[in-house]
Amino acid sequence: MSNSNAIELHDVDKTFYTRHIFQKHEDTGRRRLYEKRAVHAVDRVNFTIERGEVFGLLGPNGAGKTTTVKMISGLVRPDAGKVFVDGLEVERKRLKVLRKIGVVLEGTRTCIWPLTPLENLSYFGNLRDVKGPILKQRARELLDFIGLKDKMNVQVRRLSRGQKQKLAVCIALITDPPVILLDEPTTGLDVQSSRAIRDKVIELTHERGKCALVTTHDMAVAQSLCDRIGIINHGALVACKPTDELLDVFSEQTFEFRVDRLPALDGLAAVPGVVGAEPCPEDDGPAFLLHLVQDEATRSAAMYDAMDWLRGAGCLLRSITRRQQTLENVFLRLTSEPRPARPDGE
């Protein structure tokens, strides 16, 4: 594995089996005495995360995000493939790997409610081999860093959900691990708490050189937080690119033309390099959308030809704007595609 990579997944595969006794089959409607069904949670996934990088793993519910996180943290054993953390293979050196990772799993019951945040950090610190003055100092620093210093002696059961989530992040960081895994860390949080956690992750990665894997359903958080994004659907990684590049690649090369009057768009669609043209409802005067090909040279020529065609048609051109793609649109487009068939036929 490369020295700069903090996490590497090579052809990681995981299938879970569910057993059903005397249950009605969805398609046939017939009951079977015993049935074993396979669910491909993770399907030959490959990706790497570098040190100092925030990697976002996005996907709909049941896509395989949490299973991937659990395989990296050793909670689930992969059927095939290898997972490396900081150069160590998880299955071979699991206990050593656990010293290098801090994990926040989905849900708030990752801390002990009758204890205070300080006592929780002390307890989990001891469980993870941090002790003495280092533990005390680190616990206070973390609580200060995350904004829970004034609540450090209040029982966790009295804290809000956001504060519990912040404490879960502190617990994950008590060993000062080089790798942080955050499974939906902002779910159910208010805007302030969500932003606070996002800012802390950026600080930890970009300023302190740690690597973070974040799974989230919040596209805004993903777009503003992650350096690179992987989209997982039906267990398979369908895209994995730097955030800007992902948005760029999936931009449809659609341009919005504002004119003084709407021309006959059929003629415009015949221009070489134009994929299609359609009217665009706009409050601020007539406008239409022009879809162009991906190839840059052809697209440039098509743009000039389209402008010439508009001039020929006697239209006054007011403005041209490129339609910006959002991560949400890219996500919806990629995850709406049907599950690809596996070569083994399953």
Partner: protein, 268 residues
């Protein structure tokens, strides 16, 4: 070294919660003693053979059996219902991610639980003994040795049932039944076990509490001191310890890996 650090963490956690919820701890203690007393007084006031059997030494022996039974109930429960509860709340996954491993964590957790159970049970037992004018013999060495072996025995048994619960979460309910059997056995366990039918005798010796309870009653109630080490029950206890510990730890490791395969470690 790691075990002691984890044990320290568990000790601090347990006693912090006990101190914070002092009223619940105290009322639990009073209720435990009260229930034992009601049971004993109820039988004694009934008169006849039962009252004779439960007077003085017999009552203390019965109370000790019940206390040992409750100790077994608690220790095995930590691995069954306790583990189920931890899986339900997500705490199990957190503990699993400790670099000391699940076995060390559960060993430390059960050791602390045993310490606190021995502490509270001793107080209860002394109260019962004083109340029924029974007598307890203080022989620290044999008592400590038998308590330690009882703990090891129960831990081995607990690891086996806990391993099963890791994969087959619903077996936790069956474990309640097994725990109740352990309580019953601890109460009735006496040297009369040798007169039981062969199968019943075999089952009694195979379960981890019978010989431990008999040995402890010999030392604490009958005052046989070091003489207990020369009895066949002590030998059975030693053999049982070896078998249950190795079987339990092996089963737990296998089930832990199976649970990781099935993805049921943190699920209920």
């Amino acid at each position: 070294m790691g075990f002691f650090l984890v044990m320290k963490a568990e000790l601090v956690r347990t006693f912090t919660i006990m101190r914070r919820y002092w009223f619940a701890t105290l009322t639990g203690l009073i209720m435990g003693w009260g229930m034992l007393m009601v049971l004993i007084i109820g039988f004694m006031s009934g008169g006849g053979e039962m009252a004779e059997r439960l007077a003085g030494e017999k009552a203390t022996s019965g109370a000790l059996g019940l206390v040992i039974g409750m100790f077994a109930f608690g220790i095995v429960g930590l691995f069954t219902q306790g583990l189920q509860g931890m899986a339900r709340t997500g705490e199990l996954e957190q503990v699993y991610m400790s670099p000391h491993g699940l076995v060390t964590n559960f060993l430390a957790r059960s050791f602390v639980s045993a310490l606190s159970a021995i502490f509270t049970s001793s107080i209860m037992l002394m109260l019962v003994a004083a109340s029924v004018k029974g007598r307890l013999h203080a022989d620290p060495l044999p008592t400590a040795a038998i308590l330690f072996l009882t703990y090891v025995n129960l831990i081995g048994f607990g690891f086996m049932t806990g391993g099963l619960v890791l994969v087959f979460k619903q077996t936790g309910q069956v474990a309640v039944l097994i725990r109740l059997v352990l309580v019953g056995l601890a109460v009735v366990a006496s040297e009369a076990v040798q007169d039981w039918p062969l199968v019943a005798r075999g089952v009694a010796h195979a379960l981890p509490i019978t010989d431990a309870a008999i040995c402890l009653k010999m030392v604490v109630v009958q005052g046989r001191g070091m003489g207990v080490f020369a009895t066949s029950y002590f030998f059975f206890l030693l053999v049982s310890c070896g078998i249950w510990t190795s079987l339990g730890l092996t089963c737990f490791k296998i089930m832990e890996n199976w649970s990781r395969d099935k993805g049921t470690l943190g699920a209920y």
